[in-house]
């Protein structure tokens, strides 16, 4: 009961604010609604008993990535008028494509029971109170089986950091370099 209340609450907030994020004109409003979506998703993670991801989502996504977004939005101080929408055609196409995708996934989910292997409705999930401590499990897995991907991810972040610095560095006109 509590589970379903929480799920519907978080899911509703997530979907609603995601929709608002895409439709708001003002980029800051979009960012605010994206943050709301991300927080609601964090709630979903918590409801799925993934505590570490919950906090990672909050610290990294909301506290890190979204700060960056808001920061850039404010720095570039966008006074450009965005009234004129040239992408009307594209909007139509987008909805169409999205609906097709939705249809496809719905069909798969609904027909899943008839697929070999019992489909998606796995009933083997452990009850919430029998789960091993999430953070420890995650750490063990991350630093044993997935050590290489972990290192690759860190290299990726390093590359991204260097790239971002190079990209955003204030290169002045008239500079020889």
């Amino acid at each position: 009961m509590l589970d379903s209340v929480l799920f519907y609450f978080f899911a509703g907030v997530a979907v609603l604010s995601a929709a608002l994020m895409v439709t708001r004109r003002n980029a800051v409003h979009s960012a605010v609604f994206l943050i709301t979506t991300l927080l609601a998703t964090a709630g979903i993670f918590l409801q799925l008993r993934a505590e570490f991801l919950f906090i990672a989502q909050i610290i990294l996504y909301v506290g890190g990535i979204m700060v960056l977004f808001i920061f850039v939005i404010m720095l570039v101080r966008l006074d450009v008028a965005l009234h004129h929408i040239r992408f009307r055609m594209q909007r139509f196409v987008a909805v169409l494509v999205a609906l097709a995708l939705a249809f496809e996934v719905t069909v798969i989910v609904l027909l899943a029971g008839k697929l070999p292997g019992g489909g998606l409705f796995v009933q083997g999930a452990a009850p919430a109170d029998k789960l091993p401590p999430n953070t420890e499990e995650l750490a063990k897995s991350l630093f044993s089986s997935y050590l290489l991907p972990f290192e690759i991810a860190s290299v990726l972040l390093l590359v991204a950091m260097v790239g971002a610095v190079v990209m955003a560095k204030n290169r002045r006109r008239g500079d020889a370099s």
Binding site: A14, Y61, L120, A125, Y146, A168
Partner: protein, 100 residues
């Protein structure tokens, strides 16, 4: 726990909204944000199946995706700042030159 289908539909909805955002918005920053939303939708699936199968690998990959999103945001915003500095615009349809 709710049935996995609930989560799948939630993830699907977020994914769709993200896609629509990517395709329809002109402001590059909002396009980037929509991409973040898509990645987030994928994360829900990963965490869901990690829970369903009792295997923590899904969460590990969700973590990798968050790291990737961070990298992408950093580079993407770096590009946007560099672009804005040169062209003073953030509209996707005005980014029509390969070189200037």
């Amino acid at each position: 726990m709710m049935s996995p289908a609930h989560y799948l539909f939630l993830s699907l909805a977020l994914f769709m909204i993200g896609c629509i955002g990517v395709v329809t918005r002109r402001n590059v920053i909002v396009v980037l944000m929509s991409i973040e939303l898509i990645l987030n939708a994928v994360n829900i699936n990963l965490v869901l199946f990690s829970r369903v199968f009792g295997d923590v690998a899904g969460q590990v990959f969700a973590l990798f995706i968050i790291a990737d999103a961070a990298a992408e945001a950093a580079v993407g915003l770096g590009i946007i700042i560099a672009f804005f500095r040169n062209r003073e615009t953030l509209l996707a349809d005005e980014m029509d030159l390969l070189k200037w």
